[in-house]
């Protein structure tokens, strides 16, 4: 994939015709974690693995392994707080805290 992080002009000869992007899902390489003001803190002790946070996450940023919540993809999490909000009231396994910087 032709990467461009500094907004400099790309070279026409490197680009697939017509702006086609041949690498499916390449946005995974683009980090949106820097947008975050709040960070989710996850307590596996409290989690009941209902996976509601996983299905509601707008940034596909919650890992599920073996039917269990396995952590957060902080490269992509934008800190919206939906996960904490949809976590069942009786569970409250996710807390949003201020990012340090």
């Amino acid at each position: 994939m032709v990467k461009n992080k500094d907004f400099t002009m790309l070279d026409a000869k490197d680009l697939p015709l017509g702006g086609v992007l041949p690498d499916a899902g390449s946005a995974e390489e683009y980090e949106t974690g820097g947008w975050r003001k709040l960070r989710p803190i996850f307590d596996p002790e409290k989690c009941i693995d209902c996976l509601t946070c996983w299905v509601m996450c707008p940034d596909s940023a919650i890992y599920v392994e073996d039917d269990k919540i396995a952590g957060y993809d902080l490269d992509h999490c934008k800190g919206c707080g939906i996960c904490a909000e949809v976590c069942p009231d009786k569970v409250q396994a996710i807390t949003m805290v201020e990012e340090e910087n």
């Binding site: 946005a27 683009y30 996976l51 509601t52 996983w54 996450c57 707008p58 940034d59 596909s60 949809v86």
Partner: protein, 314 residues
């Protein structure tokens, strides 16, 4: 129907790293729908938030073949792809080795691209009977271009082209009932859904994608930017939209209407309106409360009419 654990085993087909806002209501809808079939998917998206933010060159959040061409033509574009599939399958010339592969076609569009500018192309595609699912994510305004009114914008809402002014208090017109208009095309399946109820949305997507013929889902999608709401409340606001019956969950399958959710304790619309800054002028200006009353009156009427149709051939 699949459980969340089963759904979570499937590949993520809409990745992180897209540039939709924090708390955007669109991706949970897209992610879930893409998981609702075991067939291959080819998708298109009308110009709008989803399209722009998911395909900023050279990055793409799509792990299914995906095309964007313009704003008003998602339905027409997908029918071209579907037509190509039929022709190339017939001619045994599908690209790749498997000539028998099954492909489902999905078009996504916002309310602007569906209720308004893409309305004609949608109607034409439905009438022609192509095998595709059209998904409208309805966030009630042209959010991508900075919150202009659409025909889906709720009454009284403050948008940049229906501003809350000294004299006129936001949008003056009632929204278009697109789901019913689509149903009037007598297509095999029409559903209205909300992402907060993933079971309902997933079931409706599964049904729609299993049907041979045109199908349609209208899904409410919260927009923290345009609703002037907290990003963490996006899902809760969609839930409240169903509890107030602003967004009833129902489906029309082979002509028979079924209301999928009847709140035991129907909430007043005030509860949905209040947390959204786009309605805040209604609480300050003279005449604002009358608009809220009118809002409630019309919603009640619509809900009653819908209940009358429940279980009936429409």
């Amino acid at each position: 129907m699949a459980t969340l654990k089963e759904l979570a085993k499937k590949e993520e087909l809409f990745t992180g790293g897209h540039r939709l806002c924090a708390g955007c209501g669109i991706p949970p809808i897209v992610r879930l729908i893409l998981r609702s079939t075991d067939s291959n998917i080819v998708a298109t998206t009308a110009t709008g938030c989803l399209e722009v933010a998911s395909s900023v060159y050279p990055y793409t959040a799509w792990k299914v073949p995906w095309v964007h061409s313009a704003f008003e033509n998602a339905a027409a574009t997908i029918t071209g792809a579907e037509g190509a599939y039929k022709a190339l399958k017939r001619k045994k010339r599908l690209p790749g080795s498997d000539q028998e592969r099954d492909i489902k076609f999905i078009a996504f569009g916002g309310d602007g691209g569906t209720y308004d500018i893409g309305f004609q192309a949608l109607s034409g595609a439905l009438e022609r009977g192509h095998n595709f699912l059209y998904v409208c994510y309805d966030n009630g305004a042209y959010m991508n271009t900075g919150v202009q009114r659409s025909s889906a914008t709720p009454l009284g809402s403050n948008t940049t082209t229906s501003p809350a002014g000294e004299v006129i208090l936001g949008k003056q017109q009632w929204r278009k009932d697109l789901t019913k208009i689509v149903a009037a095309h007598n297509i095999p399946y029409v559903g209205q859904a909300s992402p907060h109820n993933w079971r309902d949305l997933s079931k409706k997507s599964e049904k729609a994608l299993a049907i041979n013929g045109p199908t349609f889902l209208n899904v409410i999608s919260a927009c923290p930017l345009g609703w002037y709401a907290k990003p963490e409340d996006s899902i809760a606001l969609c839930k409240l939209a169903t509890e107030t019956c602003y967004w009833p969950l129902y489906e029309i399958e082979e002509g028979v209407l079924k209301v999928n959710y009847k709140p035991k304790d129907k909430r007043p619309i005030m509860e949905w309106i209040k947390p959204q800054g786009r309605f805040k002028h209604l609480f300050k200006a003279d005449g604002g409360m009358e608009i809220i009353e009118e809002f409630q009156r019309r919603l009640d009427e619509e809900w009653e009419r819908l209940l009358e149709l429940d279980g009936k051939r429409v």
